[in-house]
Symmetry: D2
């Protein structure tokens, strides 16, 4: 932590700051500058908010953190990439690019089973589908809930595909964990710390979506919440951030992939369906995501998007998904990976 | 809802769209334009996501909603302003500008009781203080939890001030409701729909903070979640949105006050402490908030900000708070209100 | 400037960094931390981009600037507030809140003279009006150009009001300066450095609008461009920044007023017409701007907004402007100022 | 254009709106809705701001544009992709992905000639280099100006590579056009309409960078400025937008590539150097850009980034650039293109 003093700060202000730094268990080192002094506070900054409070002191211009506030998620702690094992056949973070696909919402048995069969045939290895749906409007379809989980389990039984589904509430997290192979935390719950702690205590891999206005650092702090409860199986998912641009539903931040790869050992997947909100843009953004290093993709596929209960405009039909997978294979190979 | 067809869309595409509009229970009206046709779909759009799925159809350029998706929160439904009653003496949304003040976190009895006494003396009528704290880092202080609620109740007993405190989890919502006068939903939980439904079922007024990247429309949809469960006592709180600017912690969107006053009957308060993140800017933004029509303010006050467990840099000391209140009274009068 | 080394950086990397720092004319001071080292580079950082290039060196994590990069605009250089004199009667930055008002575009003599008379009667002391109009579309009305300047001069002759008008091009800057009392730099030209240098060489006060995605620091750097050419008469104008919110045309960042007041001695005015884009929100945001310390306001007034060539939806009619001024006087008094 | 009336608007308000629509040369079509009426105004909306002024009328809720405001840049006008020819060998927008590379600033003959030779050897076909530099700080290096243009011409003479360089001012645009093969308009000048018109009048291809807070629609409107002056050779360049994220200098919006490909016939290139601001992220974002359909890339390459006059941290060394090109070739092939 660096404490920057105001130009012309009084000696007694400086003395007070030095005293506080020591009280907080750090060693201060003063650098006298040409117009102002700065103080380095040496020690472990992880409880950094405490040092941050020095900003309230007289004569302090600002406080600049030096260390990243996450530990378990950091590549400084664990240098080799983590591989999250889903079942005996599927794991995320290895050489193979993993495709998760399926409808936004589970609607009925035929819909989910047919979609599962179609995406499996095209090369997907994980089924996605929402049973508990967080919706902006209380009047929108809220999902089939436990019935949806049963239908997903049925589709798994038929196809052998493990599935990922969203958990929206600590109270129902155990129920979802009984059925599902991966627990998804949605963008709107990405800083729902009670829920993050809860899924950290369950024995299931977690797919953590980035929040709409979440910095990379905050994203890794949310992963840290899950990991600090004992669950190291966290998959990070870039799904678009909110910006001023309205031509797409969100702005898919693909540079987050190499940034995350530099800062963390956790696997990174990309969701171009929510990232763009428009099925026309999904395929090119899938190619791009794999090209810049994503370990997997999560894509919305629906047999009849015009009648979908949610997110129709961004869903691919199975035939388009198949065509996209054929081309995606070429990009995976160019990236030195398999699909 | 307006459906815009692509330039040169085929007749069969148009026919398909018209068929679907009727299937969904709307009446289509076609307007033939010079380069493209548009279709008005007449009917209640509240389940609008369904019509939105028409974007997947061939020949459709885009779908433009006309109605706001909220009902209960809308001024179209209820024209007169709502007044939320807290206790026999205090209500929010009337002539009097209501001041809520207190520390970010409850730390101990002396801290909370002394602060309560100081803010009461200065003219505050509601005490604020966090017992359950949602923190970005799992390693930061997470609040005193129930012990904190007891200390808040103690401060209320001593001063007579009702208090507002945050609820972070459906599981502990009832516990918080037993103690507190107002339930606060924090910015990070502003689209935690499970939590919104839960506080909608409890009999307590709700202070709903705007999310960091929440549009005004989404803000009102979150209020709608609470209201649609039967709880009409919702107070909206602007607390800054996330933008590119880093000179302040968030960008306080004061224009949200007149915008909300135009669209909803619910009272609107402003939080300049989180909105700016810097105690130097709190007083001017309080004056501005009252000048543009806010019904109240929520301000962080701490007797010793340099030692605060959280948010020290944005907290006012009691003497500064008192000085600010004296000046604020002049602005309240200029606005034709009392403080 | 603080150079943060990577955890475990090699000694030879550190030596290279120290060597480069000295080559660049700074004195390095190393602080050995618990997990990484940081280096303070002491010296004048104004040519800071040079030191920034150290980020390319092996073993460097990042480079953190300490000093603000502006000098002439900084309050550290000149502590007392600057007052920009417009003519014998009008100056900006003193006790009196200055109101600038008029149409977005000058359209004809009657329109501009009548508006000038109306706003003068209501208490405005500067006329605004666009002659050269920067428009998003090449097919939109581009202004009356020199003819517009002549009409503004005519309105000044009739009413005695000095006027501010936009300059969009170094080539026509001198022409505009011959006619006008204040040269406005629009938001889209706020980093048009060729234009900033040009108006820095002319003898006219400059009203510099903040760019749509400009940080406060960049805003002051643009002021520095004008000032470093010898023109100290710069008035800063907050006019809204671009965010995700669409309920308003821009998000008026009123907290920029106290932030600027802390960092610079230059006067600060606010433009709520462009800031909100909606005449309903102009009056409350005027009140708020004065309440938080603005030295003036610039407001669009048009006698017939529905027929305006540009910006009709955000223009006030003269009667509404008059009513707003009457109420604004109360807020100016509450702020200890006159109007 | 769709005019949405307020719920319960009076008949006389509606009549006034209908009258105005006809006055403006449009045909109104009323659709009576369940809670409010909407009016379609049929006619060419390109001068749409005029209709927009109807928002000022009583009883009007808002005005929704239907048509895109650009014509010449639109794919509706010209369906086949445009190919911009640079010289006999190089054109942009065809099967071959075009690589532009070179230093941010031209510093001296050796630097620019050596870099030109290195990037040519690695497969680049256009040299980039800044002679007139728009810098945030007036105290930063502002470029070698005409001397820089001469050095670029020298490098072209030696290597045969055409070059692109920035033009920052209408006054010096002709000078730059005499030397250079492509005129670059930088992000900060992307709405400097005087400059856009000027380069529209010169006979040189234009590389137009997207502004930091520019929507796709505004980007195409700026292209329209150039094209409406008679110059159809416009190359669009995505270079990152400004968001809240600070881990990268900007947020590279790669989804802009497929969005632009859908809306315009103009070629689209990507600048990952400015887009990310960090040389570590340049290669992955180059791969991604080609994967999602970019027609070319513009990349900063410097033989000695630690001593660069500008943008060192985001520049690649020649060896790294060569390695990146070797891998990029695989992605170009996967995309069905050559490099």
């Amino acid at each position: 932590m660096i404490i920057v003093m105001k130009a012309g700060a009084a000696k007694k202000d400086m003395d007070e700051v030095l005293k506080r730094i020591k009280e907080l268990g750090y060693m201060p080192h003063v650098i006298h500058g040409s117009t102002r002094d700065v103080i380095g506070a040496v020690g472990d900054e992880r409880g950094k908010m405490v040092l941050h409070s020095l900003e309230s002191l007289h004569g302090v211009e600002n406080v600049v953190p030096i260390l990243q506030p996450y530990k378990l998620a950091s590549k400084e702690i664990k240098k080799e990439s983590s591989v999250v094992r889903i079942n005996d056949e599927v794991s995320i973070g290895g050489e193979r690019v993993i495709m998760m696909a399926g409808p936004c919402s589970v609607e009925n048995e035929r819909q989910i089973v047919e979609t599962a069969e179609a995406v499996k045939k095209a090369g997907a290895s994980i089924l996605r589908g929402g049973a508990f749906k967080p919706r902006t409007s209380p009047y929108s379809f809220q999902g089939l809930e436990e019935e949806g989980l049963k239908l997903l389990a049925k589709a798994r039984e038929v196809t052998g595909l493990p599935f990922v589904t969203e958990v929206i509430n600590p109270e129902t997290a155990e129920l979802v964990a009984e059925y599902s192979d991966i627990l998804q935390i949605g963008a709107r719950n990405s800083q729902n710390f009670a829920l993050l702690k809860k899924v950290g205590q369950l024995g299931r891999p977690v797919l953590l979506k980035r929040g709409m206005s979440m910095t990379i650092q905050e994203f890794l702090m949310s992963a840290e919440y899950v990991m600090s409860e004992g669950n190291q199986s966290v998959i990070l998912c870039e799904r678009g951030i909110r910006t001023f641009e309205t031509a797409t539903r969100n702005t898919l931040d693909l540079s987050a992939v190499p940034v995350l790869k530099e800062k963390t050992h956790l696997p990174v997947v990309v969701d171009p369906s929510h990232g763009t909100g428009n099925h026309h843009y999904v395929a090119p953004m899938c190619y791009a995501a794999v090209a810049c290093g994503a370990d997997g993709l999560i894509v919305e596929v629906h047999p009849d998007p015009e009648h979908a209960s949610s997110d129709g405009p961004q869903s691919l039909k199975p035939a388009k998904f198949q065509a996209m997978m054929d081309k995606l294979r070429l990009f995976a190979e160019a990236a030195g990976r398999t699909l």
